[in-house]
């Protein structure tokens, strides 16, 4: 199986100018439904504003823990989520707020989770890194790099065991392709013909370590070739390109019952997490990320094509702003989980002699 670098082209790797400029060969939007285009735009803007609000709330200490944002990756997130059918499953890493929203979870529940409230998508037990929703089929964000990969293969195994036609998508970052679980999982997925699409979000950095410093084969879509997994690289700044490439692989995984690997080339606009000032980034990198802002670029493109006018732009901006404000208010006004529920989620099957002692309780009360 050849590694086809279809939609994104086999772009040469270097820190600067590492992908073709959008204008060369971006898929045309002439044949697209304006309604769909506007919906992509709305979702990208929603994720952008949501994340900005998140950063603000984090700085105000309304949100605790770590907080990794999708800023700069909105086109990738929306493109990928559009490619999934409602019945398809998704596993992600810890950088997942945008994916949760894109998979159909209300921004209210996502924000409430960030606030640690009982109304949050994981009832306040997961936080930023661990969102989960059975109905939306988001089967979790995972904080251990690569931890989600074997789980995704297992979910695909369950689908295949039952003869179902769902596909599992498994998102990860570029740095994740160097962890053992990546290789064990790709091998198993290929051996067992599992319907899973592995997606590597190549934002060129894992924390501060760049791809060329961490990956002996920096063209990450090629790393499936050792397992005969076809890999595709796509421009992650272009929502249509991502949607097309991902839809193609998702549908092929579904009909052919086998795994695929998609690499999306994108930019992380900020540091690794909200508290990271990203001092390690060069001026060019920062500029390149800014120049490649996928939301602004898509907006300009829609305006150029006459799909988005000033009125529509304002209407979308207002509705998005209201939705984010509503989400933050909802989170702010939601209750914290009751301390009396502390022991509710250790075991699903109740069990004899489960410890429910609080830190200072005696083991044996006289």
């Amino acid at each position: 199986m050849a590694d086809t670098a279809k939609k994104g082209g086999g772009t040469a790797r270097s820190t600067g100018g590492r992908r073709r400029s959008r204008k060369d060969a971006a898929p045309s939007i002439a044949d697209e439904q304006p309604k769909a285009l506007l919906e992509y735009y709305r979702q990208m803007l929603l994720i952008r504003r949501f994340e900005e609000r998140t950063a603000q709330a984090y700085t105000q200490a309304r949100i605790g823990g770590y907080c990794h944002l999708n800023l700069g990756e909105e086109a990738t997130v929306v493109g990928l989520m559009t490619a999934l059918k409602e019945r398809d499953y998704l596993f992600t890493n810890y950088r997942e707020h945008g994916y949760a929203i894109g998979k159909g979870i209300s921004p209210r529940e996502v924000m409430a989770e960030l606030y640690g409230r009982s109304t949050g998508v994981s009832k306040g037990w997961g936080g930023s890194m661990h969102m989960f929703d059975t109905e939306a089929r988001l089967l979790g964000g995972y904080g251990i790099v690569g931890g989600q990969l074997p789980l995704a293969a297992g979910a695909a195994l369950a689908v295949s065991y039952r003869g179902g036609d769902e596909v599992v998508m498994c998102q990860m970052g570029d740095g994740t392709t160097n962890i053992g679980a990546f290789h064990e999982t790709l091998n198993i997925a290929a051996l067992w013909n599992l319907p899973v699409v592995f997606v590597v979000i190549n934002n060129y950095t894992g924390m501060g370590t760049t791809v060329d410093k961490s990956s002996a084969e920096p063209e990450l879509h090629k790393r499936g070739s050792a397992y005969r997994i076809e890999g595709v690289r796509v421009d992650g700044q272009d929502v249509i390109a991502v949607r097309d490439a991902a839809s193609d692989l998702v549908e092929r995984a579904r009909s052919e019952q086998r795994p695929y690997l998609l690499e999306t080339m994108s930019h992380r606009m900020k540091g690794h997490s909200v508290v990271d000032p990203a001092k390690y980034r060069t001026k060019e990198q920062v500029e390149e990320a800014r120049a490649n802002d996928p939301v602004a670029a898509f907006e300009a493109r829609l305006e150029e094509a006459g799909v988005l006018d000033d009125d529509a732009k304002k209407e979308i901006a207002d509705s998005v702003r209201d939705e984010v404000t509503d989400a933050a208010d909802f989170a702010e006004n939601s209750p914290n989980p009751e301390v009396s529920t502390l022991f509710d989620y250790t075991y699903a099957t109740p069990v004899a002699n489960e410890s429910t002692r609080m830190p200072a309780d005696p083991v044996f009360a006289e």
């Binding site: 994981s122 293969a153 099957t349 044996f364």
Partner: protein, 332 residues
């Protein structure tokens, strides 16, 4: 009632559970074509086919994690990890994922799976292949850890583990596979995870063990009865949750205790039991709790050294005698 081995009890239970529930399937290294490193899964591939008896690559993290993912969608994988020693490669998946998924996501998704793994020394396998590291797992809330000592218990406990909605680590000791015991025919008893058993009543001293050490404790008690020493034997069976009540109740009755464990002493399961007794039966104790454990060394290959390193009927007997002497009773 039939007399069968621990190995047969496991195999027959796996077979029956697979017939009972289509969602139950097996996976692990060499469990299919090779029929299992310890032949627990002999014949099962022929009977159930590759869909339900799945040979995996040598990729502990990958396949244990895949079993967790399959369990998240409601299948009931029973994974065999060739020996507990290799589960260290899957430690992340077991501790960070299997144990946490239910709690971390607010109780939305349980992980109904079983990980079976043999362990223990005595086979001259050297340092990396002779460990009992059940303590690592017993430390973690969200996991259930069981270690039955007889064929009947193994069957009842395996049924419980398979039907349980949480990840259950099912520990087998290599030294138990060929031991025989009575198992009721057409039995469908489901053991209660989290409960210990008083396997022999006695009044002079409590002897506490699990897995192979519970079996040895039973033999020691029988032998000591000939000298008119009445030993009560507590088989923990479940290491997490731990049945503290049964332990404490027994020690309150007998006034002294010996704990026997097939693993290292420092920070070990015996230490937890001794602390439990201190907290629950301090006023009833007539002598300090004594612990019998493996020597704290990497297991040697040499037979005499290995034998010396392992707890045995003799070392347990000595500990019982010395404890009774401390109580003021003349023995032996």
């Amino acid at each position: 009632m039939s007399v069968i081995t621990y190995r047969q009890a496991l195999r027959e239970t796996l077979r029956a559970e697979m017939h009972r529930d289509e969602d139950v399937f097996l996976m692990g290294e060499e469990i299919g074509v090779f029929e299992g490193s310890y032949k627990i899964t002999e014949g099962l591939l022929k009977e159930f086919g590759e869909r339900r008896v799945r040979d995996t690559p040598i990729a502990e993290e990958g396949f244990v994690g895949a079993a967790i993912g399959a369990a998240m969608l409601g299948l009931r994988p029973v994974v065999e990890v060739m020996t507990i020693n290799f589960s260290l490669l899957a430690l992340d998946q077991i501790v960070n994922h299997a144990a946490k998924i239910y709690g971390m996501f607010g109780g939305q998704n349980s992980v109904p799976m079983v990980i079976r793994m043999p362990g223990g020394g005595g086979q001259q396998l050297g340092a990396t292949h002779s460990q009992n590291i059940e303590l690592y797992y017993s430390f973690v809330p969200g996991l259930k850890v069981v270690a039955p000592s007889t064929p009947a218990e193994a069957a009842a406990m395996l049924r419980a583990a398979i039907r349980d909605d949480d990840p259950v680590l099912f520990l087998e000791n290599l030294g138990l596979y060929n031991t025989k015991g009575e198992v009721p025919d057409d039995d469908d008893t489901v053991a209660e995870i989290g409960r210990a058993a008083v396997t022999r009543e006695g009044s002079d001293i409590t002897l506490i063990g699990y897995s192979r050490m519970a079996a040895v404790a039973g033999q020691v008690a029988e032998k000591l009865a000939e000298d008119d020493i009445s030993v009560e034997v507590v088989d923990l069976r479940s290491l997490r949750p731990l049945d503290r009540e049964t332990i404490v109740e027994s020690v309150r009755k007998t006034g002294c205790a010996v704990v026997a464990e097939d693993d290292w002493l420092t920070y070990g399961i015996g230490a937890e039991i001794a602390a439990t007794i201190q907290e629950g039966a301090f006023d009833y104790l007539d002598a300090p709790v004594r612990r019998v454990a493996m020597a704290e060394v990497p297991m040697p290959y040499s037979k005499p050294l290995e034998t010396a390193a392992l707890p045995s009927a003799e070392s347990i007997t000595t500990a019982v005698h010395e404890t009774l002497r401390a109580v003021g009773r003349r023995v032996g």
